[in-house]
Structures are given as C-alpha cells and as structure tokens.
C-alpha cells in the first residue's frame, strides 16, 4: 500500500514520544544581524519510530540534530528527549547487548564517519564503553559482537583509513550502537557513498533497526532514501527551517529502493520539495 496523504505534523495521542520538539526556534548570532536557522518547529517522534527529515540546503538539519543531541540549546521552545530505554515504553533497546544505566541519550552518525584515526576500528567501537568505565573484557566482547553484527568481524585491528567509505560507516554504526542510546541521529550518513554501497547499507540499517527497535532521526536530501527507510518523511523548508509537510510511509519492510511504491512516493515528496525550493527564486 502507498499512503501518501500529508498528515498533521504532530504525533497523535499515544505512548510518550521519544523526542518532542515544541515551538523550537534557533537563531545563530545576535538578534538583529543573526540568521534564523529554525523557526517554530514542533515535532514528536514515537519510540522506535524511523523519521526522515528531508530538505534543501539551509533547512537547518544539522542545527536540529545538534539540538536533539544536546550539543546546542534552542533560542525559543523546548526539546525533550526520553532517556534511552529507561522509560520502559515499548522496550526500544531490549535486545541491545549492554544495559548500562549511564548510556548516553543519543548516538549520532555523520556524513564523514568521524572515526578516530589514532584508534583501531575495535578501539573506536570500545570508546563509548570506555568512557562509561566498562571493564576491558566486557568492552572487547561487546565490540566484537557489534563488529560482527555490521559484517566487519576480522577488521577490528585495522585503522579507519585502511577501510573503504562504506566499511567506515558500518564501523561508525557499530560505535554508535555501543552507546546503547535508544536514539540514533543520522546526519546524511550515506551521502558520500556510491550507489551500490549505499543500497547495501540501507539494508543493513533497516535490519539493525528492525532487530533492535531504536528510534531514528535521519536527515537526508535524498528523497528516495527517505522513502526507502522512513516510517515517516518530514519535509522542511529552507531559510528559515520550518516543517512544511509530513508523509507517513506505510510500506511493508524490508523495502527496496527501486520499488514502484517508493518511486511514486518519492515523486510526490520531490514535487513538494521543488515548489518549496522554487519560492526562494529571485
């Protein structure tokens, strides 16, 4: 089935959301000459939901992720993030290998894998555990498990620069999972990869997400990718970033990026994105 009717931007009443943004605005710089990156964004993400944010450049995607990650504060409004699986709602990380009380609230994946070049791949994956004072043997076991899970078993002793782009992103994914955060923020993580690799990583991410049921907030400018992965596509306007529309994606999983349903949905989102972008023509 294809459900392509725009939905209200807020989540209907149900379980407590994993992320709740209420009337969030963010201005960079001072009040007169500053730039408004985000304006009056309200968005709820349910536990275990996979939400894709799509927008052209200047829609404040990275700012939004920074706010959710707690790296930055909104100028106006509130950002609430449920702490990992601790609230017991839908047991998002029930299958995760480590259940540390000190788990960070959110993990993030970047376009550049952001692996630390001075550490081996395995040490990179162990680092979040090390920062939480998890013992050496347990750390090693968890890292081995996670590397196996992203099909990088046997590559743990390599340095990041010895891996291909796709392998680095998988290693970064393993490192993010080691945080056991319950919320995964993704900032155009597959944007720099070739099509074949990206396609396989979509499969990998989808299967991990179905296994573990964490919440995902996925930023991309690739509409097809959003339709391939998301439970819901949220379209953002640019300069300032605002929520323009929200499209639920009611397609069965696992999906294929080349399926007709995804093509159809993507076409619709693309049309609306183009009309949004067109408004900026001078």
């Amino acid at each position: 089935m294809t459900a392509v009717t725009p939905a209200p931007t807020t989540w209907p009443a149900g379980p407590a959301p994993s992320i709740r943004l209420s009337g969030v605005s963010k201005r960079h710089g001072d009040a007169t000459s500053g730039v408004v990156a985000l304006q009056d964004i309200s968005l709820d993400v349910a536990p275990g939901e996979f939400v894709c944010l799509v927008g052209a450049s200047g829609c404040g995607k990275t700012t939004l992720l920074n706010l959710v990650a707690g790296l930055d504060r909104p100028s106006v409004g509130t950002v609430e993030v449920a702490t990992a699986a601790a609230d017991g709602s839908g047991a998002p990380t029930a299958k995760a290998p480590v259940r540390q009380s000190g788990g960070t609230a959110s993990a993030m994946l970047f376009q550049d894998s952001a692996l630390f070049p001075w550490l081996t791949v395995a040490a990179n994956v162990e680092l979040p555990l090390r920062l939480r004072s998890v013992g050496k043997t347990e750390r090693r076991a968890v890292a081995d498990d996670l590397l196996d899970r992203v099909h990088l078993g046997g590559f743990g002793s390599k340095r990041p620069h010895e891996l291909s782009g796709g392998m680095r992103q998988r290693a970064a994914l393993a490192r993010a999972l080691a945080q056991d955060a319950g919320l995964l923020l993704m900032d155009e993580p597959f944007g720099a990869l070739d099509a074949i690799t990206r396609d396989l990583l979509h499969d990998e991410l989808e299967s991990l997400w179905m296994d573990r049921g964490f919440t995902v907030l996925f930023v991309t400018h690739n509409v097809r990718e959003a339709a391939r992965l998301g439970d819901r596509i949220v379209l953002l306007t640019s300069r300032p970033g605002r929520v323009a529309a929200s499209f639920p994606v009611g397609l069965d999983r696992p999906r294929r990026i080349d399926s007709a349903e995804i093509a159809g949905l993507a076409a619709m989102v693309t049309d609306q994105l183009r009309s949004e972008v067109g408004r900026h023509a001078r």
Binding site: S106, M167, R256, D258
Partner: protein
C-alpha cells in the same frame, strides 16, 4: 533526480526503465520487469557486503622489503658524502690554505684516535646531559605555553604572534641576555635553549589544537567525552601529529642553542663545544673538524629518529599514502 509520475500501490508491472531508475543516476540493469520485488536469485546482504569489502581490499599494495627500502634511502647519501670528500681533497691538492687545511684521511685518523679516548666520551656525556635537561625544559615550557595560548583567547591575542616571531630569531641572539642573567653558568645555556626552542614546540601545540577537526570534537561529545576526558581521548590524540612536528623542530633549535651556548659561554671545557673551542685556540685543524663531524652526526641521528617516529605516526593516522 528523475521525476516519476505517482503510481498506485498495485502497479508492480512497471516498465523496466522506471523500476531500475536510481535517484542518483547510477546505471541499472534495466532489463528485468518486476524487479520491484526481491527476486529469488538475489544474494544475501552478508554475501553482497563481503563481496564489496573484498573488492575494496584488493587495491592495497604491499610495502617493499626492509633491505630494499634501506638501500634506496642510503645510496644517495653515500654519493653526496663522496662528493664532499672529493671537493675537500681537491682543495688540499690545490694547496688552498696549505698551513691549515689537512687531508680527509688525516682528519679521519684524528677522529679514530679521539673515539678511543675516554676524554671524548666524557665530552659526549657532558653535552648529552645538558641537552636532556634543556630539551626537557623546552618541552615543558613550550607545552604549557602552547596549550594555554591555544585555549585562552586573551593570551592568543596578546602573545600568539610574538611566539611565531620568536621562532625566526637565531638562538645566538639570546646569548647576551642569558650571559647577563646567569653569567658563566650552565643555567645560561639552558635559558638560551628554552628561549630559542620553546616557541617552536608551543607552535606545534597551538596549530595541533587549532586543527582538531570539529566533527571529531562533535563525535567525542556525542560519545560521552566531556571536559578532561574530551581532552584526553580526542583533543590531544588529534593534535599529536602536529605536536610531534613541533617537538622535532624544537629539538633542532635546542641543539643549535646548545652548541652556540657551549661555544660562547664556555662553562664546561670538557663538553663537545668546549673541546672544539679548545682545539681552535691551538689551531688544531684535525680535532676541530673531527669534533664538527661528531656534532653534525649527533644532530643528524636525532633528526633521523624523530623522522622515523613521525612517519610511523603519520602512517598510523592515515596521513601518508600507501
């Protein structure tokens, strides 16, 4: 991005050109209608990823054998050394400065003789001690000043450019100041070393800390590193290659300052510099040149050691090709 018309849910029998189209324009097989549903022949994700990884792996070249690399690094040096000896010998044959200049073989004999005396090794030991004490202080001062300047905006505005400026000053320029402050004393030499070399070390720290990629800082914070643990797990390791560069340059400047100090301040007549000045006053050409060779040799050896560490760190960080 290609624009497709919206289609209904049951439209599985789409034309191949549409089913295979990728948003990023990648080429597609485009021949199988109904590719929209997973075909029975599709390989598993495990298999596909393993295949892709194997393709990526295949490109890496093996490094040459150690002996081969050593030879490739050594022969140009041997030839250069040979040319220097030849020019020297020609100067002797041409009777240029006949009462002073002696043949390379005379100097070599003198050097060989020197190496057999305990006095020579005492000189090496005295200079090495001075070098270690001075250089340790250079690292401490340079590291503290560099970190402080990189972190405190006021300090950077105040002395940031001064540090860069000090780096261009020849260390001999510090001699009058050092001599006036400490007199004929080993402390004066240490002061010359610190003033001459600490700026280079400080600059290594400053540029290293400045150039930590912001995405690594962001990643570190997300992973749960804050404050001191961010410094320890992200900032310092990320800055390390540049810090090492500063240490290497700092060593060169410290060695310059140490030699200038030993020649000028004459604290210890038993040091390498002291022995050389002694030989100079006696017009002993072979000893002067032999000591010079020793001093250059030590400098080169330490530099080679630094370069090796530097190369291996860069290779580990992926900052070198191959």
């Amino acid at each position: 991005m290609p624009v497709e018309p919206p289609m209904t849910a049951d439209e599985h029998d789409v034309p191949a050109s549409m089913a295979g189209a990728r948003p990023d324009g990648g080429s597609h097989a485009g021949s199988v209608p109904g590719r929209a549903s997973a075909g029975p022949a599709a390989p598993s994700l495990d298999q596909a990823l393993a295949g892709l990884d194997a393709l990526d792996e295949a490109g890496h070249r093996a490094r040459d054998r150690l002996s081969r690399r050593l030879w490739r690094a050594t022969w140009p040096k041997l030839i250069a050394f040979g040319i220097i000896l030849l020019v020297w010998q020609i100067a002797v044959w041409a009777h240029w400065r006949p009462y002073i200049l002696q043949t390379p073989s005379a100097v070599a004999r003198q050097l060989w003789e020197l190496l057999g005396t305990s006095l020579f090794w005492q000189a090496c030991w005295a200079t090495a001690q001075q070098a270690v004490v001075g250089y340790a202080l250079v690292i401490i001062v340079g590291g503290i000043v560099g970190t402080a300047v990189a972190r405190v905006a006021v300090l950077r505005a105040g002395i940031g450019s001064l540090i860069t400026g000090m780096q261009t000053m020849p260390s001999v320029l510090w001699y009058p100041l050092a001599f006036m402050v400490f007199g004929q004393n080993a402390k004066a030499i240490v002061l010359m070393m610190v003033l001459g070399a600490a700026p280079a070390v400080a600059n290594g720290f400053i540029s290293g800390i400045d150039q930590v990629p912001p995405v690594l800082l962001r990643a570190g914070r997300i992973l749960g590193a804050r404050g001191l643990s961010l410094e320890r797990h992200v900032v310092l390791p990320a800055a390390f290659p540049s810090v090492l560069g500063g240490l290497k340059q700092g060593w060169a400047f410290a060695w310059h300052a140490l030699m200038a100090g030993e020649f000028l301040i004459l604290v210890n007549p038993l040091s390498l510099g002291g022995r050389t000045v002694n030989a100079l006053t006696q017009n002993d050409f072979p000893v002067v040149v032999a000591m010079m060779i020793v001093i250059v040799f030590i400098g080169i050896m330490v530099d080679v050691a630094f370069t090796r560490v530097d190369t291996s760190v860069r290779r580990r960080y992926g900052l070198l090709d191959a």
